[in-house]
Symmetry: C2
Subunit: 347 residues, 2 copies
C-alpha cells in the first residue's frame, strides 16, 4: 500500500507539530511551502537533526506540479483573506487541502462569495478543500451531538480560552498583542478588522443541527496586561495597560428558536493558566460538557492530521466539519482508510 | 405529512417520560404493552387526566397487527434474556424497534448467538432493531469522537454513577437492592448473574473506533447502606449493611493496543447526590470529558425518542449506536426527517 503524500503549507508553530505526527500514520511529507524559511532544508526547519532533502519553497504551484501531493496541510493564516489564494492554488493543481484557518471552519456566513468560488473550483478540479482543527470535534461534533440528546434547546452558551502565544506570530498579531487601548479602539471600528472566530463555530454547530441562521451579533473587548508580560511568539514584552489579546462574544439566532452564544478569549496566559472550555445547553433537559485541561494547541494539530483520510475520501467541493462524518480513532496507517472508488467531479 | 405511529412496550418509569415527549415531535402513540397495567386506559396509566382510548395490553402481537405502529419503543428489562422475545416479536410483525435495555446497546459480545438471530430476523422482515438510550451520545459517540482527536490512545478510563431508584422496580431488583451481603456473594458466583452494563458500552466504543476486542475483564463489588435507606421503586427500606446497589469494573483489551476500562456504580443515591460522569483518555495527548450534572434518566428517554427517525431510516438488521450516525438536534416534526427511499431487505 502506497503511503499518502502530504505537503506542508506553512512551516510555523503548528505545522512543526503536524510534521512530527505524520510518519507513524504512514503519511510522507513530499513538499513544504514557507515564506521566512524559503530555501532551507525542511529537516533543519523542523529541527530534526538531519536533512530531509526537501527544500522549503515560496512557489507552491511548482512544488505541487513536481511533488504531486495527495493533500496539502495548511497552517498559515486565520482568515479567508489570507487563505483564498492558497486554497485556490491547491484546487487548480488537483491537490486536496485541509486548513486550520479559523474562519475556514464554516465561512459561508463571513465570506459567502469566496466560499462559493472555492467550492466551485474544488468541484471543477475534483478535489476537496476542507476546514478543520480544534473546533472539529470539541466544538462542532461534540456540541452538535450533545444537542441531539435534548428534547428542546433554548440556548447554547460557551466560554472558551486559548493562549495566543502558542499559535505563532501570525495569530498573536491578529489578536492585537502589544497594541495600545486607543489603537485597539480604532482598529475595532475599522474595516480591516477581520471576522471573529466565534461566528464560524456557531454557524457550523447550527448547520450540523439543522438550524437556520437568521441573525448574528458581535461584541469585542480588550484584554490588557496588569504587569509587563512577555510574548514569546512576537519577541516583545507587553507593557501594563497594553493588549495581551481580546475577548469576543458572538451570538447567532435561528429561525427554529434556539440562540447560540460563544465567548472566546484569546490572550497571553498568566503562568499556570490552562485552556478553559465549558459549554451549557439550556432547555429540556439542560446538558453540559467540560473538557478539563484539553491541550488546544496539540489537538488542533492531531485533528487536522486525523482528518486526512476523510478529506481525501470526501466528495469534491468545499466542506467543513459539519459536512464530514465525526472524527474517529485511527490505529492503522491512514492509507488503509482510503476508499477505493474513484471520486467523481460534480461540476 | 402523516405522523409517525409508535407503540410503547413497557409502561413503567421510563416510557411514562417518553410518552410526554412524543406529541410535540409529531409522533402518535397507537398502542401500549404492559403486564401490571393491562386493561387500563393508557391515559390513566400515564396520569394524563384524560383517557386516550388505548387499552394497555399483554398481547403485543395482536396490537402490532391491528394498530400497525412504525416503531416500538421498548423499556422493559435490561438484558437479552428478557428482550429477545420482545424484539423478535416486533420483527415478525414488521415493526421497527428501539430498546433502552443496557445489554442491547452492543450485545455482540455478551449474547452473540441471540444477536445474530435478531439481526437475521430483522433483515428477513425488512425492519431495524436498535439499541440506544443514555449511552448513545454520552458514551458511544461522545467518547469515540473524543478518541478521534488523539494521535495515540493508550487507555480510556471512565467513572459513572446512576441512581438505581430512578429507573423503576426492574432495574432496582437487577441491581440487587435490599439483598444481604451473603446473598450478594452467592449471586455473584451464580450463573443467574447477568452481564454487567459496562462491557456493551466499551465494546460499542471499540466498534465505533475500529478497535478489535481481544479480551474482557470484570469485577463487581457491593455498595452497602450506611443507614436505613428508603427505595421508592421497590417500596422498601434497605437496612444498614444491606445492598443499595453495586459497582462493576469492566475492562476490554484490543488487538491494536488501547485498553478500555469503565467503573459503573448503580446505587440508591444519598440526598443531594447527582450523577457522576467523567472520562479520561490517556495517550498523545490526554483528553478528558465531564458532563456535569447530566440528567441520566431524562437523557435516556430523550435519546430513545430522538433516535426514532434514524431507526426507521436505517438499513434492516440489528444495530446499536456504533452503527448509526450521531444523534442530531431535531427542531421539526420527526416525519420530516424520514427518507423517502424504500428500504431494501438484505436477506
Amino acid at each position: 500500500m502506497k503511503p499518502i503524500r502530504a505537503a506542508l503549507v506553512g512551516v510555523g508553530a503548528m505545522n512543526r507539530i503536524v510534521a512530527g505526527l505524520l510518519p507513524e500514520k504512514g503519511v510522507e511529507i513530499v513538499g513544504a511551502v514557507g515564506r521566512s524559511k524559503a530555501g532551507q532544508d525542511l529537516g533543519e526547519v523542523l529541527e530534526l537533526g538531519h536533512r530531509l532533502g526537501i527544500s522549503v519553497t515560496t512557489d507552491a504551484g511548482a512544488m505541487y506540479a513536481s511533488a504531486r501531493p495527495d493533500i496539502a496541510l495548511v497552517a498559515t493564516s486565520s482568515f479567508m483573506t489570507g487563505q483564498y489564494a492558497v486554497l485556490a492554488d491547491c484546487a487548480r493543481h488537483g491537490v486536496n487541502a485541509i486548513t486550520i484557518g479559523e474562519e475556514l471552519l464554516h465561512p459561508w456566513h463571513t465570506a459567502p462569495e469566496r466560499t462559493r468560488e472555492l467550492d466551485a473550483l474544488a468541484r471543477r478540479h475534483g478535489v476537496t478543500l476542507a476546514g478543520g482543527g480544534f473546533q472539529d470535534f470539541f466544538l462542532v461534533h461534540q456540541l452538535a451531538g450533545m444537542l441531539g440528546t435534548m428534547n428542546r434547546l433554548d440556548r447554547l452558551s460557551g466560554q472558551q480560552t486559548f493562549n495566543v502565544d502558542d499559535y505563532g506570530a501570525e495569530v498573536a498579531r491578529d489578536q492585537q498583542v502589544g497594541a495600545g487601548v486607543a489603537d485597539f479602539a480604532r482598529w475595532r471600528q475599522s474595516d480591516e478588522r477581520p471576522p471573529g472566530f466565534g461566528l464560524p463555530i456557531l454557524a457550523a454547530i447550527a448547520a450540523a443541527s439543522d438550524l437556520t441562521v437568521t441573525g448574528t451579533g458581535f461584541e469585542i473587548r480588550p484584554e490588557v496586561a496588569e504587569r509587563a508580560t512577555p510574548c514569546r511568539s512576537l519577541g516583545i514584552t507587553v507593557g501594563p495597560g497594553d493588549l495581551i489579546g481580546f475577548t469576543t462574544v458572538d451570538t447567532v439566532t435561528t429561525e427554529e428558536g434556539p440562540v447560540l452564544v460563544m465567548e472566546l478569549s484569546g490572550r497571553i496566559y498568566q503562568p499556570g493558566e490552562t485552556d478553559r472550555f465549558a459549554w451549557t445547553a439550556s432547555g429540556d433537559p439542560d446538558v453540559r460538557v467540560v473538557n478539563p485541561g484539553v491541550d488546544t494547541l496539540r489537538t488542533t494539530c492531531t485533528q487536522m492530521v486525523n482528518r486526512i483520510p476523510d478529506v481525501i475520501n470526501a466528495a469534491p467541493g468545499f466542506v467543513g466539519p459539519a459536512g464530514l462524518p465525526p472524527l474517529r480513532y485511527r490505529a492503522r496507517p491512514f492509507a488503509e482508510y482510503l476508499l477505493e472508488r474513484p471520486r467523481l467531479a460534480v461540476n
